[in-house]
Amino acid sequence: MDLPSLAEFLQQIINGISRGSVYALIALGYTMVYGIIELINFAHGDIFMLGTFTALTFVAVFGIDSRNSALQDPIALIVVLLLTFVVTMTVTGLLGVLIERFAYRPLRNAPKLAPLISALGVSYILQNVGQVWKGPSNITFPDIIPETFIRIPIGEQFLLIRWKAVIIFSISIAFMILLTFFVQRTKLGKAMRATAQDKTTAQLMGININRTIALTFFIGAALAGAGAILYGMFIKGVQFTIGFVIGLKAFTAAVLGGIGNIPGAMLGGFVIGMVEAMSDTFLETRWTQAVVFAVLILILVFRPSGLLGQRVAEKV
C-alpha cells in the first residue's frame, strides 16, 4: 500500500480536526449530562439531528435553500448566521429541558437502567419525528457561508483548507472556553458542580437541583444545536438517521476524554475525528466504523476513566 504524501497526510489531519470539532461539540452535551446525573443521554444524538432540521427550516425563511445558497452581503451573512445559532440553540436547548422533565426526572431515583431505556425510547421518538417532519431521504443543507479555500503550497501539491473548517474549529473552541468559564467561574456553574458531587448536600446548601439539572440539559442540548449547524454546513446533506451514529461517536469521544470532563470531551472529539480520517486513509472506509467502536470498547475496558479523567472509586 502506498504511503500518503505529506500534503495528503496534513490534509487528512485537517479533515480529522474539522469533523472532530462537530463530535466535540456534541460530546460536551454527553459529558455534562453524565457528569451531573450519570445518565447516558441516548436522545442527545437525535436532538442534534433535529437541530440540523431546525437550522434548515430557519434559514429557508431568509431565502437560503438548496438553490439560493450563500448570502453575498457580509453583514447580512453574519446577522443571519448569528440568528440561526440563537434560534437553533434555543430550540434544541428547550427540547433537551422538555425531555429531561418528562422522560428522565420521574426516574431519577429508579434503578439506573430505567432512565437509560427511557432515553433509548426518546431517541426513537425523536427519530420518527425527524422522519415525519422532513421525510426519510437525504436533504440538502444549503451553504450559508460560501465555499472558499485557502491554498498552501507544499512541494508540488497544495494543501486545501476550507474556510468553513477554520470557522468550525474556531467556533467549537470558543464554545469550550465559554463553557469552561461558565462552569468554573459563575455561581450557576458552581451549583452544577455541587449538584454533580452530591445532590442531597447540594440541596441542603440551598441549591435548586431540579433547576440546575434542567440548566445542564439546556446547555448540553444547545451545544448539540450549534454542532448541528456546523455539521450541516460542512457535510451539506442531512437525514433523520444521522443522529444515532454521530451521537454514538460523540459519546465515544466523551468517554475517551474522560466522561464528565469538559476539555476531555473536546480532546476526545478531535481524537475520534482523527482516528476516522486516518482509518479512511490507511485502511478502507468500510472498516472505519469498526475501528471507532473498537476504540470505544478498548477504552472502556482498559481505561474507563478516559484520557483526562481521574480514577475515582465508584460510589456504592
Partner: protein, 454 residues
C-alpha cells in the same frame, strides 16, 4: 409453584412435540413433502397447498384442481422500494406497472382458457417499516406473502439485485415466476459465475429480466469513459452492496483491459455521511474520473458534494443506481458533470414508446417519468401477455408462457428471453447531469449503445 410450572412447560413441550409429529405424519398437504426434483411437481404442490386461502375478494372453492385457482381476479405481485431514499426511483417504476395493469383492465382484462379475469396489483414495499432503503430480508418476507396468495400468478420486481437474491430461491421452489425491470447483477442468472444453483434450486428458470446485466453495463461505461470521454485514470468506489460492488468490479476490469489506469478501489459502506477524508485520499491519487458503483439512497450525492469541497473537480460516473431525482435533489448544482448509465433503452428515443409517454403523462401520477418507468410498464405487459397466452390460470402455465416469450414488441423494442431468463434486447444508455432545455437540472440523455445477441 415451581414444580407446577415445570410440569406445565413439560406439558407444553410434549404437546407441541406430539403436535409436530402428528403434523409431519398426517398433517397439512405440503407439510411433509420432500423437495421434489421435478419443478413442475413442486409448483403444482404449492399451488394446491395454498388453494382456498384467497381473501374475501375472490371466492374460495377449497378444491384442488391441479394448481389452477378459481376466482375472478388474477393478481400480479409487485415488490419495489417506494419509501426512504429509494422512493424517487421506485415510485416512477411502480407507476409504469400500474399503468400497464390499468390499461389491460380497461381493455377488458385478460382471457385465460376461455374465462375473463380482472387484473389486480398486489403491491408490497421492500423498504422495511421505519427503514430508509431497500432490505433483502423484507423482500424475502414479501416473497412469502406472494406465494401464500394463490391468486398471484406472476411477480414483478424487485428493483435491487440484493433483494432479488433473497426472493429468487423462494419463488423458484414455489414455481412462481418473476420479472424484474431493473436487476442488473450478472451472477443472478448466468451459470458461469457459479451462483445460480442457489437462486434456482429446482434448476428451472423462473426469473426473467429486461435490463442488460452489469457485465455489459459496467464495461459499456468503461468503454464510454475511455474512448468517448478520453479519460484514462480512474478511482473506483462502491457502496459495498451486491449491485454497487458488482458493477464497480466490472467497470474496473474493462477499464484496465482498455489500457486505463485504476488508481484504487475502496468500499464505502452505506450510512457514510462524511466523505471528506475518502475524497482527499482519492484526490491525492490524481484521477481524472471517479467511478462510483451504488445507489443514491446510499449517499452518493453527498459524496459528489464532498468531491467538490475537496477540490476534486473531475466527473463522477455511476450506474443506473444514481440515475434518479434523489441524486439531483441532494447534490444540487454540484451534480453537474456527473455521468450515469442505464441498462435499458431510453424510451423517449423510441417511436414505439411515444404512446406510452403520452399515457403516462395523462395518467395523473405525482412522479414524473423515471428511467425505469418504461421497463416497469414493459415487464407488466410481458407478464400480462404471458398470462393471456397461458393454457390455464396457474403459475405453471404462466411460467411456461413466459419462457416462450419471443419477439415481444413493447416500449423497449423487441424482447425475447434467453435460456437464463435474460433479455436479448440489450441496450445501455448514457446520461449526463446537466441543465436541460427547460433550464432545470436533469439527467440529459446523451447516447445509447445496442449490444447484439451473443
Amino acid at each position: 409453584m415451581l414444580r407446577k410450572s415445570s410440569k406445565l412447560s413439560l406439558l407444553v413441550a410434549s404437546l407441541s412435540l406430539a403436535g409436530s409429529i402428528i403434523m409431519s405424519a398426517c398433517g397439512g398437504p405440503a407439510a411433509s413433502t420432500p423437495v421434489p426434483t421435478n419443478t413442475t411437481g413442486a409448483a403444482t404442490d404449492v399451488a394446491t397447498a395454498t388453494t382456498g386461502t384467497t381473501d374475501t375478494a375472490t371466492a374460495t372453492t377449497g378444491t384442488t384442481t391441479g394448481g389452477t385457482f378459481e376466482g375472478n381476479t388474477i393478481k400480479i405481485g409487485v415488490d419495489l422500494p417506494v419509501s426512504g431514499g429509494d422512493a424517487s426511483i421506485g415510485l416512477p417504476t411502480r407507476n409504469g406497472m400500474e399503468l400497464a395493469i390499468r390499461q389491460a383492465n380497461e381493455n377488458g382484462g385478460v382471457t385465460v382458457a376461455g374465462k375473463t379475469y380482472e387484473l389486480e396489483m398486489y403491491f408490497l414495499d421492500d423498504v422495511p417499516p421505519g427503514g430508509t432503503a431497500h432490505d433483502p430480508a423484507q423482500s424475502s418476507k414479501n416473497a412469502d406473502s406472494f406465494i401464500a396468495d394463490p391468486a398471484v400468478l406472476a411477480v414483478l420486481g424487485p428493483f435491487n439485485s440484493s433483494n432479488a437474491q433473497a426472493m429468487m430461491p423462494k419463488l423458484n421452489t414455489a414455481g412462481l415466476c418473476q420479472i424484474s425491470p431493473s436487476n442488473t447483477n450478472e451472477t443472478l442468472t448466468k451459470p458461469e459465475y457459479g451462483q445460480t444453483q442457489n437462486y434456482r434450486p429446482t434448476g428451472e428458470v423462473t426469473y426473467f429480466r429486461v435490463a442488460a446485466t452489469d457485465d455489459i453495463q459496467g464495461p459499456a461505461a468503461a468503454d464510454y469513459a475511455y474512448t468517448e470521454l478520453k479519460l484514462t485514470k480512474v478511482y473506483v468506489l462502491d457502496d459495498t452492496e451486491t449491485y454497487g460492488k458488482g458493477i464497480a468490479d466490472n467497470f474496473k476490469r474493462r477499464f484496465e483491459e482498455l489500457g486505463g489506469t485504476v488508481l484504487g478501489h475502496d468500499g464505502v459502506p452505506k450510512g457514510t455521511t462524511d466523505f471528506s477524508s475518502i475524497m482527499t485520499k482519492v484526490a491525492a491519487a490524481g484521477p481524472d474520473l471517479v467511478y462510483y458503483g451504488g445507489t443514491s439512497s446510499n449517499n452518493i450525492p453527498l459524496a459528489r458534494k464532498a468531491m467538490k469541497s475537496s477540490g476534486l473537480d473531475v466527473p463522477l460516473m455511476g450506474g443506473d443506481g444514481i440515475q434518479d431525482a434523489e441524486f439531483l435533489n441532494v447534490a444540487g448544482e454540484d451534480a453537474v458533470g456527473s455521468y450515469s448509465t442505464v441498462a435499458a433503452v431510453n424510451v423517449e428515443t423510441l417511436d414505439e414508446a411515444k404512446q406510452f409517454i403520452e399515457d403516462y403523462n395523462a395518467a395523473g401520477f405525482k412522479e414524473a417519468l423515471g428511467a425505469y418507468s418504461g421497463p416497469g410498464y414493459e415487464v407488466a405487459n410481458i407478464a400480462i401477455d404471458a398470462i393471456s397466452r397461458a393454457s390455464e390460470p396457474s403459475r405453471d402455465a404462466v411460467c411456461e408462457a413466459l419462457r416462450n416469450t419471443k419477439d415481444f414488441k413493447g416500449v423497449l423494442g423487441t424482447t425475447s428471453f434467453d435460456e437464463n431468463g435474460d433479455t436479448t434486447n440489450k441496450v445501455i444508455s448514457f446520461y449526463r447531469a446537466d441543465t436541460n432545455d427547460a433550464g432545470e437540472l436533469a439527467w440529459v440523455f446523451v447516447d445509447q449503445i445496442r449490444f447484439g445477441e451473443e
